[in-house]
Amino acid sequence: VVNSGATIARPVSSNALLWALAVVAAGLVLSARALGLADVAAAETFVLIFTSIVIEALPFVLMGALVSALIEVYVPEKAFTRIGKLPLPVQLPAAALGGFAFPVCECGSVPVARRLISRGMHPASGLAFMLASPILNPIVLTSTAIAYRGRGIGGEMVLGRAGLGLILAIVAGWALGGEGAAELLRARPDDAEQRDEAGAGAGNFGAFANHLASDFFFMGRFVVLGGAIAALLQTSIPQSLVSGVARTPIIGALALMGLAFVLSLCSEADAFVAVSFIQFPLASQLAFLVFGPVVDAKLALLYGATFRRRFVVRLLVVALPIVLAGSLWFEVALR
């Protein structure tokens, strides 16, 4: 029996568990095939959307884990000490603008932000970077321009998205990152194991591989769970439900923000979906484009596992009014 502090972890024979899991998986596959699950439309839709979200998102998680492991192993401590000494009014916007240089969508930015904060960056700056990079990164802005170019407002939508995203990231980072890293970050059970294994003589490359795998596994499971929730919602809730409120600017924007949460789209693709909501005013479409990369079903799980103290609820309280007001102002300014 391994005694780990106050809790007692029950060790299990790995061989026995692996066999048990293999048998369960084989049983599930055989039962599904025998019952003809592949012919059930809802099952097909769910599995296809679920797996496509995970297949697309996991490599980005992997990319985020790669950067995170590089930061942990190869960036010297003094670099973070130097950054940590910068005044917050400089750190915060600089970190948010750093999103321009990090072409990874939201799933990849969470592990990087966690690592930056744990290594000494001010939590507000780490959060600002995390919230800005899925909106400001060059691939996202280019796809937004391409999607809206056809409507003759590619430049305006890019400016609106980048501007509102930057404001949201800075304000939310400042509002939610006022506490210390220890109060903000949730301790991960595998942190101690990582340190043990990294320091066990495997060298820098071994430590890098350990951190990479550890971040991938930790974040990956929440992408899987979030993808399942998003797929379930996409399979069960008709999108036409929100079309009924399309004409009302405020309710339309709220409806598309809700839809962005449900759909959990990659920020590199969401502009192509937003542009199809032709019944909605541009304010609502912009709200969809700024809100979705910051809070959605799969991110809610990732945030919950990474941060403490009802982070998602507090982020919602900050993000909703900013996105709503900003998108409505954008519509007025565009006219």
């Binding site: 979200i53 297949i55 697309e56 194991e193 036409s240 004409r247 693709a269």
Partner: protein, 235 residues
């Protein structure tokens, strides 16, 4: 006895193998759009590399901690998508997905500007007919005009209510992955063509475009049942 790293190595190998299968079998087209195909070989290569490094440390490094049930559950979650694909292989987005993903038939909102037609000389397809219903100039530029001969391949999303009645033929347009698929539908009038057209059946419809107060539809001259295309989406 294998430790936690052995299980982690297995999960990494399972995902690397899954990505390799998607890439080599062409099944990647079922899940992703061309813009994101690259994530599959990237994922396969990096995960395989990570698995090999784990294998090396497994052989040469000190033994790691044994896993608790909770840790094993966390790792097993990552295998769920792979198992789901084995349970429901070759899944398709069909009529149910089209009904869920359709945003309804409301008219465009105030200030809406139809996109300028693409410079492509390709034959008009579902998306062109959709936009031609919103903009006459778009339709004229893309050749979506009354009387034009057209051929469409899609699946039946709304079957005819009675023999000879109209039905809807649909195709999904995908940007990054199936989660962002958008359905575009065209009304098909089978006219003299007879046959049972059931939900999710893939059809090749040849006919001419007809325009009335409800927009463009296709008056069919010939309708053939066809297998699902290797690439089920349009881009």
């Amino acid at each position: 006895m294998p430790d936690g790293r052995a299980f982690r190595t297995l999960v990494l190998l399972a995902w690397a193998g899954f990505f390799a299968y998607l890439w080599l079998s062409g099944e990647v087209r079922r899940y992703l759009g061309p813009r994101t195909y690259w994530v599959v070989p990237f994922g396969a290569a990096v995960l395989l590399g990570a698995a090999l490094v784990q294998l090396v440390t497994l052989r040469s490094g000190p033994s790691g901690q044994r896993l608790s049930m909770k840790q094993i559950g966390g790792l097993a979650v990552l295998l769920v998508p792979v198992i789901a694909v084995a349970m429901v292989p070759r899944a398709e987005l069909g009529a149910l997905a089209a009904s869920r993903k359709s945003t309804g038939g409301l008219a465009p909102g105030a200030g809406y500007i139809a996109p300028p037609p693409p410079s492509s000389h390709a034959e008009p397809s579902f998306i062109d007919i959709h936009f031609a219903n919103e903009s006459a100039s778009y339709g004229a530029t893309r050749g979506v005009v009354d009387g034009r001969a057209i051929e469409l391949v899609g699946f039946v999303s709304q079957p005819p209510g009675s023999p000879g009645a109209t039905f809807q033929l649909t195709r999904f347009y995908v940007s990054c992955c199936a989660a962002d698929a958008i359905p575009y539908s065209v009304v098909i009038d089978p006219a003299e063509v007879t046959g049972g057209f059931s939900t999710n059946m893939w059809l090749s419809v040849s006919g001419v475009l007809r325009q009335d107060g409800d927009g463009f539809s296709v008056e069919a001259r010939d309708i053939q049942k066809v297998p699902e295309p290797q690439d089920p989406y349009l881009y």
